[in-house]
């Protein structure tokens, strides 16, 4: 029974990956929207773009990690 609950929990933790996907899409989409308005300023902001994506993605990776722990470590 506990193993089954852990699997359900792992599935629930996978929702976090979708949330991170929304976050990353938001960052990239807004960057593109801004870049198309002022393309000359876009090149200087790619580093900021990647930092933003990395921060948004990290939390999705945390949920992935929780899922992995529930699948293999609990």
């Amino acid at each position: 029974m506990e193993g089954e609950l852990a699997h359900i929990g792992a599935g629930l933790a996978a929702i976090g990956s979708g949330a991170a996907a929304i976050g990353v899409g938001h960052v990239a989409g807004n960057f593109l929207a801004g870049a198309l308005r002022n393309p000359s300023a876009a090149a200087g902001q790619t580093a900021t773009l990647f930092i933003g994506i990395a921060f948004a993605e990290a939390l999705g990776i945390f949920s992935f990690l929780v899922a992995l722990l529930l699948m293999f470590a609990v």
Binding site: F50, A54, A58
Partner: protein, 249 residues
């Protein structure tokens, strides 16, 4: 594996088997046992030496293929350090260049079929992440003394908000090494597990061609992710370094 599939009545996926640490010459795994992790870490170091030292040893005025790659990578990281940390961060460029090249080579070597991805283990990335964290914290206190603590005291915020912001800033500061290392390990682990799951679909003859195309597509994505994660790790190191050198908001 085929027997397992029949016994289970379905497909057999073992996506996590590839991350198993095995001893190279048999025997129990102790502190100083040579394992496949050791082997691939050494391979990563040798790859960095081959790419950065051997190709540039001639110092040709007109660079050859290898030397141009080495020069491009050097210029890329140098510009990144200069842009993010400013002129006074250039002193720490060798450390950041080492980190970038090592992670890049370890990631790419992990993509060779049947090889082992060292950066998919939190034990490896945590050493890199905590190394950066400790180095940057010590550097911040050495350079700025106690005024380094003003990093946590957001002077541009209203006075009433500052204690609350200080708590949030301190928590986020100490989560940095954790997220820094787990980001790299998690990305590598997730990507390689996805590759194995797609390869597992080849067990069904009807969708096997589709599975091969899927593996190829995911592999291409993984090459991109390997480079981007090395870049992200390095640029975050630069950002943390900038905070240590200029803690005032």
């Amino acid at each position: 594996m085929a027997d397992d599939a029949k016994a289970g009545g379905g497909l057999s996926f073992k996506p996590m088997d590839q991350f198993e640490v095995k001893s190279l010459f048999g025997g129990e795994i102790g502190t100083f046992t040579l394992t496949n992790v050791t082997f691939w870490l050494v391979m990563a170091v040798l790859a960095v030496i081959a790419l950065m030292v051997l190709t540039t040893s001639k110092r040709a005025v007109v660079p050859g293929r290898g030397q141009s790659i080495a020069e491009l990578l050097y210029g890329f990281v140098y510009k990144m350090v200069e842009d993010v940390t400013g002129k006074d961060g250039i002193k720490y460029f060798p450390y950041i260049m080492t980190l970038f090249m090592f992670i890049l080579c370890a990631n790419f070597l992990g993509l060779i079929p049947m090889s082992f991805t060292t950066t998919s283990h939190i034990a490896v990335t945590a050493i890199l992440g905590f190394g950066v964290f400790i180095a940057v914290t010590v550097l911040g206190f050495v350079k700025n003394g106690a005024s380094f603590l003003s990093l946590f005291w957001v002077s541009s915020a209203p006075l009433a908000l500052r204690p609350i912001l200080a708590i949030i800033e301190i928590i986020s500061y100490f989560v940095r090494p954790v997220s820094h290392s787990i980001r790299l390990a998690g990305n590598m682990m997730a990507g390689h597990a996805v590759l194995k799951v797609f390869a597992g679909f080849a067990q069904v003859a009807a969708i096997a061609p589709l599975a091969i195309i899927g593996v190829m597509a995911i592999y291409g994505l993984e090459v991109l992710v390997s480079a981007i994660q090395a870049y992200v790790f390095t640029i975050l190191t630069c950002v943390y370094l900038k905070d240590a050198l200029h803690p005032h908001h």
